[in-house]
């Protein structure tokens, strides 16, 4: 009897989908890293990342998520600490132009990954209090302010991609939390105006100041290269080209696992991390890509189901935050590899090589399980 009850606590579809995604991801990391020195080490590190991630998953699952309800102030503080940690001398590490990593116990982490989870909890705590309807202007301003703190801090690293994930999380949670459509329209308008004026003003200001003012030139090129590959033909333009060649040349059924020439011969940059989808597209073709998208669809359907059956608003909002995070990351990562989105260093959930990212996503799965096990009717 007791055994049955415990099984009832587990959302098996979620577990199966996540296992399938993890297995798929390991397969692709293995394929993407064959031929590079220390490739077996990378696969082992990825498996280790999964193993380590299972600990916070289990903790998040067993912990009652409701304990974070009302804890938004300490959560916000924790958030700022996490994002600013890489700036602490001695443990902070700068790589690829971004101060996003810290080293603890000889291991490198990206605390901003964990900050996404903390942000989800903090926002859920605040939005939950509006009982499903956010109408007051000041409430909106407050929420946007709460969101802009981690966003602004992340931008200083600078890591625009991760910053955008925070905005996507906020947007999804506010949508479900009851923010009226007009506010979305206003926010959208402001965003468009802001982005547009930065893109238009930056070259003018740069020229007048004689140096990079708002954005560095390479950032600008990277942002716009998906519109025009020739903007940065050496670096991101080249990467994008090679990524599109890899995916396109996969055709319907792919070149076969481990037989992708673009990946194996290293024409494809960052094959095991940001461009892992290109490896998949090349080796498994449209069929494999569709299979992955199908798995993501299943994951999100399960998550939506969990959100709709949460015991309370807080639980629903936490799940919605996770859904929004994943949705944006999938859109941005795959969109980038096929030239639909700007090139930002956002990895693909459960697929890309990278332990911090894996740990954060598995923690999110733990939170989903926690909400599920305490749902209505249990």
């Amino acid at each position: 009897m007791r055994e049955r009850k415990r099984l009832y606590f587990v959302n098996w579809p979620l577990v199966f989908v996540v296992i399938a995604l993890l297995a798929f991801g390991l397969l692709m990391v293995r394929s993407a890293t064959t031929g590079i020195t220390g490739s077996s080490g990378m696969l082992r590190r990825q498996m280790l990342g999964i193993a380590v991630g299972l600990i916070p998953l289990a903790i998040a699952w067993r912990l009652d998520y409701r304990m974070f309800k009302g804890a938004h102030v300490p959560l916000m503080v924790l958030n700022a600490v996490l994002i600013l940690a890489p700036r602490i001398p001695g443990i902070g590490v700068t790589a690829k132009g971004a101060t996003s990593w810290i080293v603890l116990f000889g291991q490198q982490f990206q605390p901003s990954e964990l900050a996404k989870i903390v942000t989800i909890l903090a926002l859920a705590s605040i939005i939950e209090r509006y009982k499903g309807s956010i109408e007051d202007v000041w409430d909106v301003v407050k929420l946007v302010g709460v969101l802009l703190i981690p966003f602004g801090l992340i931008l200083t690293q600078p890591d625009l991609g991760t910053g955008l994930v925070f905005l996507a999380i906020g947007a999804g949670m506010m949508l479900v939390g009851g923010l009226k459509a007009k506010w979305f329209a206003i926010a959208g308008l402001i965003a468009v105006l802001l982005v547009g004026s930065v893109l238009l003003l930056d070259p003018v200001l740069d020229r007048r100041a004689g140096r990079d003012v708002l954005l560095k030139d390479y950032q600008m090129d990277r942002l716009l290269v998906f519109v025009d590959e020739t903007r940065d033909p050496q670096n991101s333009g080249h990467n994008l080209r090679q990524s599109k060649i890899a995916i396109g040349s996969g055709e319907l059924t792919g070149k076969g696992l481990g037989s992708g020439t673009q990946g194996n011969l290293r024409f494809l940059p960052e094959a095991e991390t940001d461009f892992i989808f290109a490896v998949l597209g090349e080796e498994l073709g449209f069929t494999g890509a569709s299979l992955l998208l199908g798995l993501y669809l299943a994951l999100l359907m399960v998550a939506l189901d969990i959100a709709s059956r949460s015991r309370d608003m807080f639980g629903s909002l936490v799940v919605v935050g996770v859904i929004s995070m994943w949705t944006f990351q999938i859109l941005e990562n795959i969109g980038m590899t096929v030239g639909l989105m700007p090139i930002t260093g956002i990895p693909l959930p459960f697929m890309s090589f990278g332990s911090s990212f894996m740990v954060a996503n598995l923690t999110a799965v733990g939170m989903l399980l926690s909400v599920w096990s305490r749902r209505v009717g249990t």
């Binding site: 499903g132 599109k244 040349s249 011969l265 939506l304 959100a307 949460s310 629903s316 919605v320 949705t327």
Partner: protein, 619 residues
């Protein structure tokens, strides 16, 4: 179900719809890229990883008739630079310092190379190991520069037979577009002149192709497919290295001899030796000569100017086949034969030479070279002592006949037409006639009429008649060969790897003259008398083998007289015919006949000091 969850449901549906929209967007994009546009990306992916490397086939060697190597191959390292190097002053200076070549020289090598259109240009051949290692180890310092292993031509005998052998060079864009070079690629080395050009298809061989897979930084990952090159075949020429050496020495000795006789301008000429029975060319010398080594890796523009400019003496010209000379008195054998055939001369007929000749009128007085006169002269002595008056008479008879029988007859022996030798650049010479003169002087109406003097001048091989040294040799070989004129050739055969003959030259008949055997015998006797009692008797004194021949002195406006000699031996059983022209070598043909004797002696094994091949030509 809680009430709040009911309120959330539509919003969650919006979220779900957004998500499904994202997935659909991605799916559509993937479909267009992978399924609709896949083939194009496959091609691009292949282009990324597949490289085709040309494996250059070693060029066939060129050998002399006994297998001695005239042109060989050797391995070398060349330094190539891309044209973009010129935009990078620092790298250009660095390369200049490394190679020890001024930057201006590197610039001119890149810009002046005939293959300007292509990416890489040879800036240095025979790079030292140190240079090769330094460039290979510092790709960052030399971004537009590469080192390649190549085989280039080498000439074990230096400039020997340079005009016959010719030289090689990078294929030009015009050649690439022409039909003869269909299978060629930019940058290929092809024959540009001489045998290198003539036998290009045999020498070239077939390129190999290696298809390789490379990674993103261009490293070889594996060989996908490899077709080995088929080396070009060795071509054996009829040239005899020993005789060729003697012929070239004979030319330079003739220049010194001429200088000793008061003709210091003598510095150019040609000597030809052919096998009378087969038409094989045993020696073909032309002076001044050039060094084919200069063309390896592309000739510099200074060097090119030095051998092509006015005043250079045009060493690239093969005077034996590409220069037309007045055949002078060597022509008398054929004019005489024409006279015999037409009845204007006969063995019994005699003429009176008083040193001058005024039959065309006193204002058109013409002199015999012997101003004191030959007195009463018969046909044989007329040739032996080269009496001009005899041939003025014969020529004037032809003129008065009102026809162009003389020209027609001369042409039947091959004058005015190419001999058909298998070397590029042969000219046809000229047998002038009324039609030619009219056309030649199209802009000068007053000079268009054919005059009696034109025929008379032609009769002593002067005026507008032109012949190449080879033509003179071939026609005299025809006389020696009882009227059978053969096509001369330098190609002997092509041997396969195991030494078997693959392609062989054959004896081919050329011009087909008509003559009475008695008349030909008379001319032969007359030519023999030139050597025994005539104008060449001193040059051929006490030679062990009987020979026949004819001297010549060509008068050239504004220059000293050109000396000519053509002869064959042995007289009774003719084997070899030699013709020599020494520009500005002086009158009487003395220097030319001495040179011809030297070559004939070498051929007959009389002067073994020069013949190193061990072949006995006196058989």
């Amino acid at each position: 179900m809680l009430e709040q969850n009911e309120r959330l449901r539509p919003r969650l549906l919006v979220l779900g719809a957004l998500f499904v929209g994202v997935l659909l967007l991605l799916l559509v994009r993937l479909w267009t890229m992978q399924v609709i546009g896949g083939a194009e990306y496959v091609a691009q992916a292949e282009q990324n990883r597949i490289r085709e490397v040309t494996l250059i086939a070693p060029r066939g060697r060129i050998l002399d008739r006994n297998g001695a190597v005239l042109v060989d191959n050797r391995a070398t390292k060349v330094v190539l630079a891309e044209r973009s190097l010129l935009d990078d002053g620092v790298a250009l200076k660095r390369l200049s310092d490394l190679l020890g070549i001024p930057t201006t020289a590197i610039e001119s090598r890149i810009l002046s190379s005939p293959d300007v259109a292509y990416a890489s240009h040879v800036v240095m051949t025979d790079a030292s190991d140190g240079v090769v290692a330094y460039i290979s180890e510092h790709p960052d310092l030399f971004p537009n520069i590469s080192v390649e292993a190549r085989t280039v031509r080498t000439y074990p005998n230096g400039t020997l037979a340079a005009h016959v052998l010719g030289y090689t060079g990078t294929i030009s864009s015009e050649e690439l577009e022409s039909e003869g070079f269909i299978d060629y690629n930019p940058g290929d080395i092809v024959g540009k002149s001489g045998a290198e050009s003539q036998f290009e298809t045999v020498l070239q061989g077939d390129r190999g192709v290696r298809t390789i897979e490379v990674d993103a930084v261009g490293r070889l990952r594996r060989v996908i497919d490899s077709v080995d090159p088929e080396p070009g075949r060795d071509v054996r020429l009829t040239i005899d290295i020993g005789v060729q050496k003697v012929a070239e020495e004979a030319l330079s000795e003739a220049f010194s001899a001429a200088a000793g006789l008061g003709y210091p301008q003598a510095d150019a000429g040609a000597a030809v030796a052919i096998d009378i029975q087969t038409g094989e060319v045993l020696a073909l010398a032309s002076a001044p000569t050039f060094n084919p080594e200069q063309f390896i890796g592309g000739i510099s523009s200074e060097d090119w100017d030095a051998i092509t400019a006015k005043g250079s003496g045009y060493p690239l010209t093969n005077r034996a086949i590409s220069s037309g000379y007045a055949p002078a008195s060597t022509f008398k054998a054929f004019v005489g034969l024409a006279g015999l055939e037409s009845g204007y001369a006969s063995s019994g007929k005699s003429w009176t030479c008083e040193g001058s000749w005024v039959k065309m009128g006193t204002q058109w007085k013409k002199m015999c070279w012997k101003h004191s006169g030959h007195g009463s002269v018969g046909f044989e002595r007329g040739i032996a002592e080269s009496c001009d008056v005899v041939f003025y008479e014969i020529g004037y008879d032809f003129y008065r006949s009102g026809e162009e029988k003389l020209q027609e007859y001369l042409r039947t022996w091959g004058y005015g037409s190419r001999t058909g030798i298998d070397l590029p650049g042969e000219i046809s010479g000229r047998v002038p006639d009324a039609a030619w003169k009219k056309e030649f002087n199209a802009n000068y109406p007053e000079y268009q009429r054919w005059l009696p003097g034109d025929t008379v001048n032609m009769s002593i091989g002067q005026g507008d008649v032109l012949a190449t040294p080879l033509q003179i040799a071939v026609t005299y070989a025809g006389i020696a060969n009882d009227g059978k004129v053969l096509v001369p050739h330098v190609f002997k055969d092509v041997l396969s790897e195991n030494g078997k003959t693959v392609i062989e030259s054959e004896v081919k008949e050329g011009a087909t003259p008509e003559f009475d055997q008695g008349n030909l015998d008379l001319v032969q006797r007359a030519l023999r008398r030139v050597v025994t009692n005539g104008t060449a008797s001193s040059a051929f004194r006490s030679m062990d083998v009987a020979s026949a021949g004819k001297t010549g002195t060509a008068q050239v406006a504004g220059k000293e007289d050109f000396a000519l000699y053509v002869g064959y031996a042995p007289y009774e059983d003719p084997k070899y015919c030699v013709a020599v022209v020494i520009e500005q070598g002086g009158g009487g043909g003395a220097v030319a006949s001495s040179a011809a004797r030297k070559v004939l002696s070498a051929l007959l094994g009389l002067d073994t000091g020069y013949v190193s091949t061990g072949v006995d030509y006196s058989r």
